[in-house]
Symmetry: C2
Subunit: 378 residues, 2 copies
């Protein structure tokens, strides 16, 4: 089932402009997905998300499986109905979360046994039951259960882990088919692994490309490696991915990461960054990030970013945002999150427009120059 229409590829880089046709929404790519871990993009109403132009958000299988439970969500007719969201959704497989549990999990060929961080109870994630859980959630896109090796990992570890991910992918496909396949309304994407090793990335990309899924993800980045390593892994991987399917870079990233990955041909992104740092008082502006706690904002009667047209910047001063942050007020989180997601939405809009006019590299260079005053740059 082809869900992807490729409209244009840049003449001077690999940036692509496309459209994803998902059961609950039509989504223009490159696209960024806000993360709604527990079935809520933190501090945002669904009216906010819609107003910001997002039609595709992410939910975390691991968290939703533990609370409120995927069976309970299935009884409601799935995640869309449970949370009251009529747009499209993607669920990850929980792989990243269970492997992050470290001392609380054990990996075998069968799958992963782990202890709930909530109550210590034991649970098994196998390719088969993760597929069942994701079908219970019923997102538009569901991710295969993979093993996400840590950074750094030796070639041997990354190799064994990748081969296991491939075997698990075959089990995921079989179970997904048994549950109705893509016709069920949930489209399965595979995940390329292979660590930082060129031969493994090629092998994994070719393996995942050989399975006729409607899309392919690149996993195992954004796991603590330096920024240039992520770019190198992309360079190693992208040439081996089929060009007629959407490419989803998982867990990425900063605005600069998005530009650099789009340049390499990535179509889809998700990341907790803009929402998480908003709650800590870091805001994106056309001049780079700023920390709203900084005393210099205390008397600033203008908006945090005079170039921003978002609802928050039109109404509120930087001083008020700082005041809310200092008082630890919920509205501070709400406004900062809205502003950052507006920034990301406009960035993706700018990226898409630039690709359409074949001026992406110019757009990218301009963004990077504008952000050069970034307060938090190392």
């Amino acid at each position: 089932m082809s869900i992807f229409t490729l409209h244009k590829t840049a003449s001077d880089c690999a940036a692509r402009r496309g459209t994803l046709q998902l059961p609950h929404a039509t989504v223009e790519t490159p696209v960024f997905m806000p993360v709604g871990t527990h079935g809520t993009v933190k501090a945002m109403t669904f009216e906010d998300i819609t107003e910001l132009g997002y039609r595709l958000i992410l939910g975390n299988t691991f968290h939703l499986y533990l609370r409120p439970g995927s069976g309970r969500i299935a009884n409601f007719g799935g995640l869309h109905r449970f949370i009251g969201w009529d747009g499209a959704m993607l669920t990850d497989s929980g792989g990243y979360q269970v492997f992050s549990l470290k001392d609380l999990r054990k990996i075998t060929e069968e799958g992963v046994r782990f202890q709930s961080p909530l109550d210590g109870s034991y649970h098994d994630f196998t390719p088969e039951n993760v597929m069942r859980i994701e079908h219970e959630l019923g997102a538009d896109i569901i991710m295969a259960f993979d093993e996400c090796p840590p950074y750094p990992a030796t070639w041997e570890y990354a190799h064994d882990s990748m081969l296991r991910t491939h075997r698990w992918m075959e089990r995921c496909v079989a179970e997904h088919e048994r549950l109705g396949g893509d016709a069920s309304g949930s489209l399965l994407f595979g995940i390329v692994q292979g660590g930082v090793y060129e031969d493994l990335r090629q092998q994994s990309a070719e393996f995942m490309g050989s399975i006729p899924t409607p899309g392919i993800a690149i996993g195992g980045v954004s796991v603590g490696e330096p920024p240039e390593e992520m770019r190198r892994v992309l360079d190693l991987t992208m040439p081996y991915l089929p060009s007629d399917r959407p490419r989803y870079l998982m867990g990425v990233g900063t605005p600069t990461d998005l530009l650099d990955s789009v340049m390499r041909g990535v179509d889809m992104f998700d990341c907790v960054l803009p929402t998480r740092i908003a709650r800590n008082g870091t805001l994106y502006t056309s001049q780079g990030r700023v920390n709203i706690a900084n005393a210099k904002w205390a008397n600033e009667a203008g908006p945090i970013d005079p170039a921003c047209a978002c609802r928050v910047c039109r109404r509120h001063s930087a001083a008020y945002l700082r005041h809310l942050h200092q008082c630890n007020e919920i509205l501070g989180a709400q406004l900062a999150t809205y502003h950052n997601l507006h920034f990301y939405a406009r960035l993706m809009e700018g990226i898409r427009s630039a690709i359409e006019t074949d001026s992406f590299l110019t757009f990218r260079a301009q963004c990077l120059a504008n952000w050069s005053t970034d307060e938090e740059k190392k």
Copy 2:
């Protein structure tokens, strides 16, 4: 300056229907004001507040004086500009908050010296500088600096305290006049005290009535007394208040309190209750309060209140609200607060309509009967 138009008084009780003409808004009474302690009604955007129909909100002088500082707010052109709210505002005087500090304050005839709970620094609230602070904030209605005696208080304590409040009122009036008086755009209201004692309440009501302020408040209730005591104090006080001015009952209350106080002729209310308990998971419904943490909601696919037409009940199930509460998600606080403030707004709307058709007592009886299944009733 008359700001109040009395349209109608019920034929069978003292309930009244009026209009307040304030510098930033026209407000229909009886009215409930949401509390925006730090210049934000917790978890609500100003778009939410407007959508809910509120045009008059409260700010706390004590909190805003300490953070971000009233001088800083004055530099912004006042509280409206600082927080980005074009509706009307009322500021209390901080009296209630400084007296609640107990071990951190000392009362003299001059005023109250207190220590900031934030950093231990010393501050003085006197009638004169509270007037200056409130003028810096520039709300539409500013409250006189009073002493709010605790409950219970002896007649002697309540008497001395009331006389001091009267002397402070005269100093407030003088300083307010020096600062431009009501023509400045901030209308001064006095506050009746006198504890639970009939002679003191009469004396205080007559004293405050003798000063030509555009409105009068009843203070010293909602300080820990049993519910019936608040009603008794109202019965003692209301007959002595002039009928041509709005009567504001400070810090009240529950929906039942509102009905019982409107019945006795109160026009204005404020209370943190609907917003505070929302954040703890208590929601108002047409059948009484419910606790969203209760396991019985875990599988409820319908809204928390099928009779409610608010944005939250139209979109979200009770099970989802419970899930957000269990996960301590910010959206849980946002949705519960919105719902409760919608409940209060519709209650006040119902009250005003009922008075217009001279059916207030019937409306009140119906509400009390409907709420009889209240889960949290003692």
